[in-house]
Symmetry: none
Subunit: 377 residues, 2 copies
DNA sequence: GCGGCGGATGAATCTCACT
DNA sequence: CAGTGAGATTCATCCGCCG
């Protein structure tokens, strides 16, 4: 028997033995949860309908149609109807949770505030809100808002008194403390991981990435724990639970989704002990906006920019743009204009006068990069 | 008068003139907002009390202390009291907002879900939830949760129909020519920016960084706009508003905070005009008819138009229409027809051959726009 | 085999002035 | 106030094809 098995705590199930098979239940989540025994679940992960309230169609600038989430299951008559639905499933989930269980819910600004308020009303105790930052979100095609680049997860214990599971040491080890923050950077689910039907089209419109669920399970559950997912969808929670030695009860109303998840689950192997700890955190070179240099006071609005030979001048504006003659635009666009070039790296082209002489504005970016180092994971 | 001034829309205030002095009002925010004229505010930034459960000092709108009985703490009643308080100040703020005004609220998981749900119930229309990621958050000492490394801001229009202000192009130009995302990385307020009392201790426990407010104002307000802050605290919103040529009405209940913010505000200088002039959005640029381009001789009648790949051809007619095969119509309609698309921007779709190669007809429009700008200067 | 290029796509509350 | 039409609008990533 390996040493890692010896480290397993006494109340936990011995690896490879006695962990109940993960299963997909096809049916309405509230009715099915009511059939489960009270106090039988260690962790809940829920990805409920977001109630997006979309109207009309949206096209990309290249005229292609955005394949929106307009499914029947995401339609609610009113906020009130959505609230009633939310209260009902949260109450049903609460009943089957063990006293020390905790619950995760993921959502967007369309629904997450309602979910969070109702959670609190029902006596759940919020432990964190965790932000999933997408490094490849869909852009805002019409330029009317900020790119919706994140979703919010609420992590809550069944009550304020719950002795919930948080694998602090395990999470900290090997990850340089980075993943302990409440903001997580992860890509959306694409490529080979995305379930496709025989027609080659995505099976489910909102399949979550396995890495996201994996981090949730590794942080807030133990091996052999029973995980409940009331809105199983494409079965990601069940698949990740099985891979990481948890036992999942996944409920899904849609016949097609349920069938696809059973196929998916059958293809998943539980990982060997040694592999369970690693959760690679992707790093990237932090991008710095010129407006940040101004916001941080490193260059003042109104400051004069010049090229390295002091041949041309431009002036810095409060919003992070630059004025060159009558033209206004980014440091790059204005640098290109000043040189009558197609393109230009404004960071190295533009300089400011300092006590030590002319300095490229890139030197100020370096200051901010230094501070940002390590935060991108 | 500079061309940038001419581009400023009529309802905007002439730079350097007529921007009402920013002011700090000492008093209860609901009572003071009720004294302000309805529909008089362009933007609201609100940083309401966060965590009432821990502080235990919840006041009703009438200043009475909410009864927090030690041995029989009623959690539900406390949420209810906070909700009533939230509804009251949001309603008062909504009354003083112009129809096209928008509102920002910042909070943490303790209160933001309740605020967001009530916002929606009152008819506000959420535009984004924006995450302020702190690069230097307070660590979680007990190791029982993820480090709370962010706060959440909700940006909402007064109604779904509001034509809110969003300086999309300026924001994009200041951000490496990329759309600004919903997650912002900024340091917390420390060092010289942090207001200190005579005893050297911080004046206010939750002073927000000026960079955060600056980005909010630059993204969602115009010069001369009236900004309202019902929970002014250390006066950051007022200070940043004044610096960036906005007029702030700041309300603060606490005498000491109000006094400190007045001192702070007196030391703030408004930035010079050239740093504040707005980047005109393309949608606000003067309209140019295609027939004008022909009349001015920039493109001759009978000239051949083609797309950027030279796949299709059309011909220019003297009246400003375009012939594509047997069809005749506007540059936009014929561009759509050529692509079999629903719609098309003919200015960027159609090109003509020039000595320097293929040029979009938009470049000829730019010539005329440039002349028009010069004429008004 | 590899690199470049074109096409596809992801939980989306996504226009606005003028008649 | 509803209808109409000009015209403005995308980032990261993956996959497949072609040279």
């Amino acid at each position: 028997m390996s040493s890692s098995v010896m480290r397993t705590q006494a109340h936990h199930i011995v690896p490879g033995m006695d962990i109940p098979e993960s299963r997909i239940i096809q049916g309405d989540c509230i009715a099915e949860m009511e059939k489960l025994p009270a106090g039988s679940v260690d962790l809940v992960f829920a990805d409920p309908p977001y109630n997006l309230q979309l109207q009309g169609t949206l096209h990309r600038p290249d005229h292609s149609l955005v394949d929106a989430v307009d499914d029947e299951w995401d339609q609610f008559a009113s906020f009130d109807a959505y609230d009633n639905f939310t209260r009902a499933w949260l109450l049903a989930a609460r009943r089957v949770m063990k006293p020390n269980a905790s619950l995760w819910v993921i959502g967007s600004y369309h629904n997450i505030f309602r979910v969070g308020a109702i959670l609190q009303d029902l006596g759940f105790w919020i432990l964190n809100d965790v932000v999933w930052r997408k490094n490849n979100p869909m852009p805002n095609f019409r330029g009317r808002r900020f790119t919706n680049a994140h979703e919010t997860m609420i992590w809550a214990a069944r009550s304020a008194e719950a002795k919930y599971t948080f694998n602090y040491e395990a999470m900290k080890a090997g990850n340089e403390d980075l993943q302990l923050r409440s903001d997580w950077l992860l890509p959306i689910c694409t490529g080979g991981e995305r379930l496709k039907g025989k027609d080659g089209r995505k099976v489910h419109p909102t399949q979550k990435p396995e890495a996201l669920i994996a981090r949730v399970l590794m942080a807030s559950s133990k091996r052999g724990d029973v995980v409940l997912d009331p809105f199983s969808g494409s079965g990601t929670t069940a698949a990740v639970s099985k891979r990481f030695g948890r036992s999942c009860v996944a409920i899904e109303r849609d016949l097609e989704y349920a069938a696809a998840s059973r196929d998916r689950l059958a293809g998943v192997e539980t990982l060997p002990d040694e592999a369970l700890a690693e959760l690679p955190a992707k790093r990237e070179a932090p991008r710095v906006a010129f407006s940040t240099v101004i916001e941080r006071g490193l260059i003042a609005p109104g400051a004069v920019l010049t090229d390295s030979k002091r041949r041309v001048e431009a002036s810095v504006r409060a919003d992070g743009t630059v004025a060159f003659g009558r033209a206004i635009g980014s440091i790059h666009k204005m640098g290109a204009l000043a040189q009558e070039a197609e393109a230009c790296n404004g960071w190295t082209y533009w300089h400011v006068e300092t006590a030590k002489g002319l300095a490229p504005i890139d030197s100020f970016r370096a200051v901010i990069r230094e501070e940002m180092a390590g935060l991108s994971a």
